[in-house]
């Protein structure tokens, strides 16, 4: 039996319509929506956990320290850049959907030092008598405030286990340093970047550079809890 050209054309049109049918075409769903829902799922997961996490909002240019869905502190980003390692002018793009996966165990680099005061208690005196030494023990020294004890480097990084890091830069810092010192610092940074791009030391896949006001960058460095998580929202799907 031979099919007529008209019947063939009708059959082809039907097949094309079927292929384009919304029920059978998952790609008809906007990629942005799929991405947004994946991020919301991740954020919901973070908000039901017990750990602290940072929420970096690319749209609002805000970096927030959060716990269980509650914003504890918020920092206004003056600049926000997305960086990928580049070897011989070739970018190594991160895996698709890296920002919809859990990013955890953030730690400061360089690490924050904390000097604890150690006090050895005097031996107890028999009841009714003065403590050993004949006088009341001297009051323990008053610990210094965080501003007095913790010096903040610029830039510093928050390095996460999944190969993502946040580089925090303080705007306006270093202007009072000499030209030679600034060049030396820049060269040091450049060499460090070269090493990390080549996979020496830390194996970062994505680096988010955030520029904060100097006081805010310092406050974040001093108060960042250990093992912090991260979620980056507001970026277009990769």
């Amino acid at each position: 039996m031979r099919a007529s050209p008209a019947a063939l054309a009708a059959l082809l049109a039907l097949a094309a319509a079927e292929a384009a049918s919304p029920e059978r075409a998952p790609d008809a769903v906007p990629a942005g929506l799929r991405h947004e829902v994946a991020q919301l799922r991740l954020e919901r997961e973070l908000s039901t956990g017990k750990g602290f996490y940072l929420r970096l909002d690319a749209g609002r240019k805000r970096l927030a320290l959060m716990l269980q869905g509650v914003t504890l502190d918020e920092y206004e980003a003056r600049g926000f850049e997305l960086g990928v390692p580049e070897v011989l002018f070739v970018d190594r793009r991160p895996r698709r959907g890296w920002d919809t996966e859990a990013i955890s165990k953030g730690r400061l680099d360089p690490e924050r030092q904390r000097d604890r005061i150690e006090v050895v208690a005097p031996a107890p005196a028999p009841s009714g008598a003065q403590p050993a030494g004949g006088a009341t023990p001297a009051p323990p020294p008053v610990p210094k405030s965080a501003e007095e004890t913790v010096s903040v480097p610029s830039p510093y990084r928050i390095v996460f286990a999944e190969g993502v890091s946040v580089e925090v830069r303080s705007s306006g810092v270093g202007r009072n340093r000499s030209w030679l010192r600034r060049q030396a610092d820049a060269l040091g940074l450049r060499l460090s970047d070269l090493g990390s791009a080549l996979g020496l030391g830390t194996r970062d896949r994505v680096r988010l550079r955030v520029t904060l006001a100097a006081e805010e960058a310092a406050a974040l460095y001093r108060s960042l809890p250990p093992d912090v998580g991260l979620i980056v929202v507001g970026l277009p799907p990769s």
């Binding site: 919304p22 919301l40 602290f52 749209g59 504890l72 604890r116 006090v119 965080a146 970047d193 809890p225």
Partner: protein, 258 residues
């Protein structure tokens, strides 16, 4: 040779050439030309050597590698209109839009409806919040981080304030402090056997809000030290903010410490 006859010269026919005067500029130009010519000759001699050629190519490659290796940063372009209405009417799109709405609602519900307390133990600040509004902000004193070692028994206490989410479990007016062992050890006093000897009146101020594991928000006798980390782990607060906090905070209020 006849007298008066002109002596023939070797100069070519034509107009006589004028001598160039030796000015500093001409001398400099001539010297420059000489140096350039000399440099060209020497570089050509160097380039003729294979090792030098290889080294130069290597240096250029390394320079390019240095310039082209590192991190490539670009300003992050935010997603266009997140949360926008979905125009696609596919079944999957509708399902995802519904899920997005549910997730957003669930996230909004994580924020307490009533008041909540945030304590920044690094900068020793306490804030009482309701939604986005700050109802109260005051300096406080969090744990000093000091380590106390007991000589004889070798017990060790670390005076840190815990981090995390807690709740106000009880509220007390005129609280009485039941001194723990470390309070006696620190003072060099023997640990009393009678529990009544552990009670101390007035040192916790007018009010205390207990949030678990022996930790409280309470008053202090040393208001001049507020803003510094001097406590044994509790949160010390000045008289007036403590009164305000006690008045505004019901039982079950979340306390977030970071």
């Amino acid at each position: 040779m006849s007298a008066g006859a002109e002596t023939p010269t070797s100069a070519p026919a034509g107009p006589p050439k004028r001598a160039v005067p030796h000015t500093p500029t001409t001398v400099a130009v001539a010297f420059g030309r000489f140096v350039l010519a000399e440099l060209r000759v020497r570089l050509a001699a160097l380039w003729a050597r294979r090792r030098v050629r290889a080294a130069l190519v290597g240096v250029v490659f390394l320079l390019l590698a240095f310039l082209g290796t590192g991190w490539d940063f670009a300003a992050a372009t935010p997603q266009v209109a997140p949360g926008a209405a979905v125009k696609s009417a596919t079944r999957e799109a509708v399902r995802l839009a519904g899920e997005r709405e549910r997730l957003q609602t669930a996230l909004e519900r994580r924020v307490p409806r009533g008041p909540w307390i945030v304590i920044d133990q690094t900068h020793n600040r306490l804030r009482l919040m309701r939604g986005d509004e700050t109802l109260l902000e005051a300096p406080c004193s969090a744990g000093s981080g000091m380590v106390l070692k007991e000589g004889a028994k070798g017990r060790v206490w670390v005076f840190d304030t815990p981090r995390g989410r807690f709740e106000v479990l009880s509220k007390t007016e005129n609280p009485v402090w039941k001194k723990p062992d470390w309070a006696f050890v620190e003072e060099g006093e023997p640990i009393p056997k009678d529990p009544a000897d552990r009670l101390e009146y007035g040192s916790l101020g007018e009010y205390a809000l207990y949030f678990g594991n022996g930790y409280m928000i309470h008053g202090t006798l040393y208001e001049r030290l507020l803003g510094r980390p001097v406590s044994h782990g509790c949160i010390r607060l000045g008289k007036d903010p403590l009164r305000e906090l006690y008045r505004q905070v019901p039982l079950g209020t979340p306390v977030y410490i970071y």
